[in-house]
């Protein structure tokens, strides 16, 4: 097993640092932005939780400590496994990304917006008060509902290390578009206070989000966005992305670096690693050899030992 830098994941000042290489989960849950056939083949390949755990173990053995994952119900089973083997997973961390949006979208379709909310919240409590209150929704109530929703999503990670907690792009970008900026602060505050974790934001609209987070005085935020050589789903344009990465103060995590396979690995990673301000790279893979090759390539192109990062 490779030597790993066990986390604390803090720098000399005691601030949390995001690890350089993160393992993603799209491949496990039938998500492929380029091909539905590939997505389906992957869904079949990872039908059992055991098959996912095997790949996660490979990644862990290769020295990748972080699993960045949606709060998909099957992640709950992985959490159970990790909880049951604390010694083996001593340095293992989850970076939860919430919510698993389809769960909510399907519930809204089936039960309407309020009906869906009722299903995801515990009985009584804040929502009951809101619904009774009708028109008058105190500011505190919205915050309370948001906190309850976050807690519901975090339940599966109880007792596990979750130093960074992300808001999924579909929610980040919905709030961003609507202009519900206060929600980003509510999220940050609750994640920090209750989970002692750093808030992270996933977005497809990086430059726009950075402006808003700056306006809210959320300093040096962790932001995960598509960063790839062909500008795939980089809203605002590839030049604007390169510019904010080079000039703004934030901790960028690059995702979709291969643009779902549209860019050859070496070319893709060269582009990302050349931008030295990019803090971390998240990628998904289904085989040990693929994981090893990608990790080695990132380390080689980053021209620094991973532990020093």
């Amino acid at each position: 097993m490779t030597h790993r830098c066990f986390p604390g994941c803090q720098d000399v000042q005691g601030n949390l640092t995001v690890e350089r290489i993160l393992f993603g989960d799209n491949q496990f849950f039938g998500v492929n932005h380029m091909s539905e056939e590939k997505a389906r083949a992957q869904a079949m390949r990872f039908q059992t939780t055991r098959s996912i755990i095997d790949v996660l173990d490979s990644a862990y053995d290769e020295g990748i400590n972080v699993f960045m994952c949606t709060t998909h119900e099957r992640v709950g089973e992985i959490c159970e496994h990790v909880r049951a083997h604390p010694e083996h997973y001593r340095g293992f961390q989850f970076y939860p990304c919430m919510p698993y949006a389809h769960k909510y979208v399907n519930a809204v379709t089936e039960h309407g917006a309020l009906g869906a909310l009722r299903r995801f919240l515990p009985d009584g409590g804040a929502l009951g008060a809101i619904l009774k209150g009708g028109m008058s929704v105190a500011k505190k109530d919205v915050e309370g509902v948001a906190q309850l929703l976050i807690d519901a999503e975090m339940k599966m990670f109880e007792g596990l290390r979750t130093p960074v907690i992300f808001l999924q792009n579909v929610v980040t970008d919905l709030l961003l578009g609507i202009g519900f900026n206060e929600a980003f602060r509510i999220f940050a505050q609750h994640v920090r206070n209750k989970y002692h974790a750093e808030p992270g934001y996933i977005t497809m609209n990086l430059p726009r989000l950075l402006d808003v987070l700056e306006g809210l005085r959320i300093e040096n935020p962790i932001v995960c966005a598509n960063i790839n050589k062909i500008g795939f789903r980089m809203c605002g344009g590839i030049e604007a992305y390169e510019n904010v990465i080079a000039t703004r103060t934030f901790q960028p995590i690059a995702m979709s670096v291969f643009a779902s396979g549209a860019i050859p690995p070496k070319e893709a990673l060269e582009y990302v690693c050349r931008q030295t301000k990019i803090r971390s790279i998240v990628f998904g893979a289904s085989s040990r050899s693929n994981i090893r090759q990608t990790k080695q390539l990132i380390e080689k192109l980053s021209d620094t030992k991973p532990d020093a990062l």
């Binding site: 917006a113 619904l131 579909v170 970008d173 919905l174 709030l175 609507i178 726009r208 809203c235």
Partner: protein, 368 residues
Amino acid sequence: MIRIALIGLGKMGMSHLAIINSHPDVDLVAVCDSTAYILDVLSKYTGVRCYTDYFKLLNEEKLDAVVIATPSRFHGEMVKAALDRDLGVYCEKPFCLDVSKGAKLAELADRKGLANQVGYHYRFVATFQKMKRLIDAGTLGDIHHFRAEAYGPVVLRPTGSTWRSSKREGGGCLYDYACHAIDLVHYLVGRPDAVGGTVLNKVFSRDVEDEVYSTFFYADGKTGQLAANWSDESHRKMSVKVTVWGTNGKVSADRQEIQVYLRDSVHERPELVRGWNVLYTTELTDPVWFYLRGEEYSAQIDHFIQSVKRRDKNTLCTFRAATEVDLVAAMMLKDAHSEHPGVAPETRNEDQQHSKGGALEAIRNFLR
């Protein structure tokens, strides 16, 4: 700046709200919905002006256009009210359900020269746009058959009581899922002249169909099949696929990729080789200024906004086009309830064939 109001803040409405609000050429003036809680939160946190009465909104605000994302049963009156005030109108699908009402609105928008568009967003998916260009250019030769499919996980158990479970309000797999496939068929190969063998079956729902199957017939001899099923859990979300066969090959597309098989290469398209060609969304899709759930949602709103700016009534998906979808949906409903199923000749029985329950009932009686 184009001044727009949004009516209806359900799933599509919220998505439109984010997209419209972030558009650089738009001033989102006000929103309207019947759910007080949602309006309350929105006005408090975003400052947008909120109405519960769309008439009041239309009368009080100075607007260029409205976006309507309410259940279909409200579309007719709302679209009419907006057109009467000379506003451009974007309306969610399905359009009106009532074909004559839809046709009148299409005529009105046309006469007034107002931008009019319906939210069949698959017309804005790059792979289907590419497919259309290939068909129109004759790359596939003469088209003789197609298959349009829409599957996804909407109704997976016998519960639910939203407007989607009420036929009258535009619910059911036909209006929700199949209409997308019908519209794509119209976009790609045109409207059928007749439909046959239509099946509208329930799987879990009590009042509406969960699966839809039909055969489309064209005067030139072309045929096609349509299949939609919103009770298919094997799909993570709605998944639409169209395959078209022509004398020079076939093309198959979904949201992510397009696969083209050519029997012979085509002089005008040197980039396509004989045999298989595969193109992906990553290379076909134009970037958008704001991304929420897919480029097509932003692209269709931008198309509408640009049409309003130009006062261009000929959008990529007009009221007229959407009324054609309603018309074919009505043809399919009629066909599904027709009393003339194709029962094997040696077993024909007049009584069974004309039983009151329609095609399915006749077959069931026969099997008994």
